[in-house]
Symmetry: C2
Subunit: 230 residues, 2 copies
């Protein structure tokens, strides 16, 4: 265990930052950018689905899935179920969010997959899915031998955290990219929208940092420490 402090306070901070991030991204997309729509002649409303679903999905629910092992007063089996179900929801929302970005591009005749954000995004969603499938098979159903699980758990934790940190970093790239496009179209560089988007990105990064700190801290005493591979 890396840090000699309890994880629970960090997980409270994660929840608060998650709520703050959710509010900020909704204020941005609804108040400043006109709202969300799956079908619309105003194609920007289709785009708006992308940041909302990516933030709620991969970042917030994905982060809650990670810390659920440290923060829930449940049995190991129940926590495992919560962990994999939350990650499945995160992944599904992430896939719909990625689809929304392509839909917006295609209906607006904007090129696909030329930016670093898009390249990394495709890579991350694929790695997230691989991590989920591998975790499901080894730790849930059918489940590997005790020896295999013991060998896999540190890699599961480290690989999962690497993919999660990449997702948080790529969310920041997305906020910067979109805001740069908007500023090129006339949005003020020091205006309220620019500050809102930058602060949303900062909150997202802090959220990710506190998820990582939760993992590196100590599980509650009653815990079986099965997750404390790091």
């Amino acid at each position: 265990m890396a840090l000699g402090v309890k994880a629970i306070p960090f997980t409270f901070v994660v929840h608060v930052l998650g709520i703050a991030g959710l509010i900020l991204v909704l204020v941005w997309t609804i108040d400043f950018r006109g709202g969300l729509a799956w079908e619309s002649t105003n194609k920007s409303l289709i785009f708006n689905i992308h940041p909302v679903l990516m933030l709620i999905g991969l970042i917030i629910i994905g982060g809650e899935a990670i810390i659920s092992y440290k923060s829930l007063p449940l049995s190991k089996e129940k926590k495992k179920l919560v962990h994999l179900v939350l990650h499945a929801i995160a992944l599904i929302l992430g896939i719909i969010g990625v689809y929304a970005a392509f839909k917006y591009h295609n209906e607006s005749s904007i090129a696909n997959l030329y930016s670093l954000h898009s390249w990394l995004g495709i890579g991350i969603i694929v790695l997230y899915a691989i991590q989920w499938i591998y975790g499901f098979l080894v730790f849930f159903y059918p489940g590997g031998s005790g020896e295999l699980r013991s060998a896999c758990i540190p890699w599961h934790v480290v690989f999962g955290l690497v993919v999660y940190v990449l997702a948080v970093g790529n969310a920041s790239l997305g906020f910067l990219e979109k805001l740069t496009f908007l500023e090129n179209s006339g949005v003020a560089k020091y205006g309220s929208e620019a500050f809102l988007v930058n602060f949303t990105a900062v909150i997202t990064i802090l959220f990710g940092a506190f998820v990582v700190l939760s993992v590196l801290s100590q599980a509650p005493a009653e815990d079986d420490h099965s997750y404390s591979a790091i």
Copy 2:
């Protein structure tokens, strides 16, 4: 210790990726962007100093400073000296690199400190300096008590890695931001320069990932494991 594998192979990969990243950023700034200059009527040449120094400094030398504890066959005291000297060089190059960005902005009448990249960059360089000063005082001179050092080392490792990962993420933001500006000025989205910059960012991220994996893996057997706090 998180991962039951030796760190040394990971550190070899770090060196190779570092050399690759260095070559790519030099090809970009010199071949595609006209070279580097501290004083020039072509202000873009002043900007070019920024990505080169940030990548060589905070990312490559900073990463080598981190893994030096795992990769060098030296005594603990000598490794500590290498670690702090490399981090000092990284920090100084980083400060000059940040100054170059301001110099370019000021001489080109471009606004300062409006973007997420600039906000995070200032925060990261300050945190990097705090981490260096605190590490110097506690672990080198005058040095804290054994008890204080033991209490501080896990936080030193975790805080250092968080700052380093933020630096790698912010380098990616910088590459994406600059390329987006260039594409708005006519650089082709699927052209060779765009691919070069995106691949440099991908190499930078892989470099950072392998630095983290080195830290999470096992020091050579003859090592005193003093750094193995995680």
